[in-house]
């Protein structure tokens, strides 16, 4: 598993909670490697669009299409890896 910045992981968990208005959740409740869609957090395509917008606004990172989105939104860790890759 690739190493990613733990501060970034925390920020992304907070982004998920804020963008998706998951008022009852805290970052600790989101597992870094758990699937975001289907099982795990149970997100759907409407949530995906919120996260696309959130990543653009908060991190200046663009998800160009559904294929990239599928890879990026596998877990918080894959999101963090993508953000780090795009920032390099």
């Amino acid at each position: 598993m690739a190493e990613v910045d733990s501060e970034l992981i925390e920020k992304l968990k907070q982004l998920i909670i804020t963008r998706l208005k998951l008022a009852d959740m805290t970052p600790e409740m989101i597992e870094t490697d758990a699937p975001l869609f289907g099982e795990g957090l149970g997100l759907d395509s409407i949530d995906a669009l919120e996260l696309v917008l959130g990543l653009e606004k908060e991190f200046g990172v663009v998800i160009p299409d559904a294929e990239v989105g599928r890879t990026v939104f596998q877990s918080v860790r894959t999101m963090a890896q993508y953000v780090e890759d795009q920032k390099r």
């Binding site: 998706l20 208005k21 009852d24 759907d44 395509s45 409407i46 949530d47 995906a48 669009l49 919120e50 696309v52 998800i63 160009p64 299409d65 559904a66 294929e67 989105g69």
Partner: protein, 311 residues
């Protein structure tokens, strides 16, 4: 003082999960609704939630959606919630009408089942499909349906600035999904429907549905129900026309929510098992409160949550 809209969702897209420890199963309204559906429609909601019976899947999903909306409505009312207005999406109209007492619970169940059977027959004979397109603006989605001229595609749901549902012939829907993905949609997927609901081609069924509804006497809604075509409350005498025409007309959910916010509604409660409408409302306006009764069990009893809407 907050003003509250109850929002009745359209057909669930997957079997509802009602595991043994699901809090709903301890609810007396749930037991009552399950028993009534079993008696009247020979429909076993619990069995459907577990077993892989695929025959008549969409019809069963429609009945399950209706029942679960009515269960959640009963829960909300028992806890003191009162809607200032009711709004609905697609087939959510049947539960919306029953909730507003324009029809009885039994009549709503009968209408859901009867129209569901007509749609099931239509799907089997004429085919059709639907797809959800997320992440493209309306102009792009309209262009997709125009570019695939010949497959009778049309926008069936206007759910938000970048959320649409397309309806039409199955081959056209598959091509539309590919086109949408090539235009960088964030998601383009088939829905479970085996017919092109809310498309002009289904208008041929309006007469049959109108004839069916002759058996029902509609009363004035106790709570106003917003008509998403006119964005005015449905009048009693309009309801049968609305029911018979809506399967051939698009759903303007975005327009509906925007109108309600303009009118001062600041709290939207989805009266159903999922949270699709809640998420669509979040996209339309992040500042209004929206939640699904199906996602909240114990918090619904919290006095601070209830206080704003209790009368």
């Amino acid at each position: 003082m907050g003003r509250t809209a109850f929002c009745f969702p359209g057909q669930l897209q997957e079997r509802p999960t009602l595991k043994e420890d699901h809090p709903l199963r301890r609810d007396p309204h749930f037991k009552e609704c399950v028993e009534m559906a079993s008696r009247q429609a020979s429909f076993d909601l619990l069995r459907f939630s577990f077993k892989g019976e695929e025959a008549g899947f969409n019809l069963k999903l429609q009945i399950a959606t209706y029942l679960l909306s009515m269960v959640h409505f009963s829960r909300l009312r028992a806890e003191g919630w009162v809607p200032d207005i009711i709004t609905e999406h697609s087939m959510g109209i049947y539960a919306a009408l029953a909730a507003s007492e324009a029809i009885t619970f039994e009549e709503g169940l009968w209408i859901t089942e009867s129209i569901g059977r007509i749609l099931e027959r239509e799907g089997a004979s004429s085919g059709g499909a639907m797809a959800s397109i997320v992440g493209l603006p309306s102009g792009e989605v309209e262009k997709i349906s125009q570019d695939l001229n010949g497959f009778h595609l049309s926008i069936a749901n206007y759910n938000g600035s970048k959320h649409f549902v397309l309806s039409g012939e199955e081959e056209g829907i598959e091509k539309a999904i590919d086109l949408a993905l090539s235009k960088k949609a964030i998601s383009a997927t088939r829905l479970t429907f085996n017919m092109g609901l809310h498309s002009p081609r289904l208008s041929v069924l309006s007469g049959e549905i109108r004839a069916l509804l002759k058996k029902i006497e509609i009363r004035s809604p106790k709570f106003p129900i917003l008509n998403h075509w006119t964005v005015r409350p449905l009048r009693r005498e309009e309801i049968k026309d609305f029911l018979s025409q809506e399967i051939g007309q698009p759903v303007y959910w975005d327009r509906c929510v925007e109108k309600l916010i303009q009118e001062g509604i600041n709290q939207f409660i989805e009266v159903g098992h999922g949270a699709t409408l809640t998420k669509l409302i979040r996209w339309i306006d992040r500042d209004v409160e929206a939640f699904s009764a199906g996602d909240r069990f114990s918090p619904l009893c919290h006095s601070e949550l209830v206080s704003e809407s209790k009368r």
